[in-house]
Point group: C2
Chain length 131, copies 2
DNA sequence: AATGTGTACTATATATTGTAATACACTTAA
DNA sequence: TTAAGTGTATTACAATATATAGTACACATT
């Protein structure tokens, strides 16, 4: 398993864990029903507090990414829910707008931005059916 | 001037101010050399602390969006710098990746995402040459 | 029974965020 | 010159978020 923490980033540790699990999951590196490292194991690997990992796992379960079973462990969910949450949609639209404006100020063209978008979508769809 | 604050959002107040100025600036609602409300005036409008507005203005100046002159006020910058900051580029790429992954979990398709992107770029380029 | 799971709880420390009040330096206009 | 309007700096305080530390509990597996 390839988890890593960047202490320089201002992103909270539990957020970094959440993002990495979701990313590996979307890219197909983590398969449905696959077992994740235990809270204590992962916290030991990352040299962070078990509570921090636990917090990340709980949020991931709330989002439907993983499923936790007492005494057994945490596992990748079968399938992601097809229901579209309107609030989440609005959040994404707002974030996208702000990101584009920021990138605009950073001197990034629409063409570059669009190209990066394609690259990400290639990653999360290409590896999905590998094994 | 159309500033507004959403207390429900978890985004910090000074961040909301920053985002709104940049957005209005990118959309051409705020023109170069145009005067912004004074720190006290805007803080009074928004019913927030003057320090918070000041913090937002200082960050906006650091980013080259506005220029402040002691005793006179703050004004929209002439032009945005063409220099591309590699660190900022990397930040944008990371944020884009995470945003796409999150939207993927929210059940949003690439087509929708791409369409929204086009809409935002239309907004920030279309109004730019109006007057 | 022993071990490995996730979880809950309290306590503590630090950084971020926001407010409050005051004062200062500068510009503009009366 | 004086007064009012600018941004800024400073100190203090409170609330919240983040992260750690230690302990304990409930459940599943072996």
């Amino acid at each position: 398993m390839y988890f890593h923490i960047d202490p320089k980033k201002n992103t909270p540790l539990y957020e970094q864990v959440i993002q990495q699990v979701k990313e590996m999951c979307a890219k197909g590196i983590l398969k449905p029903n696959e077992k994740l490292p235990s809270v204590r194991e992962l916290s030991s690997q990352m040299v962070i507090n078990p509570n921090t990992v636990s917090k990340a796992y709980q949020e991931l379960e709330r989002q439907g990414v993983i499923i936790t079973i007492r005494g057994r462990g945490t596992f990748i969910s079968e399938e992601l829910s097809q229901s579209v949450d309107p609030r989440q949609v609005e959040k994404v639209k707002q974030s996208l707008k702000q990101l584009i404006i920021d990138s605009h100020y950073a001197g990034i063209s629409k063409e570059e931005f669009s190209e990066w978008m394609d690259e990400v979508y290639d990653e999360i769809r290409g590896d999905k059916n590998e094994n």
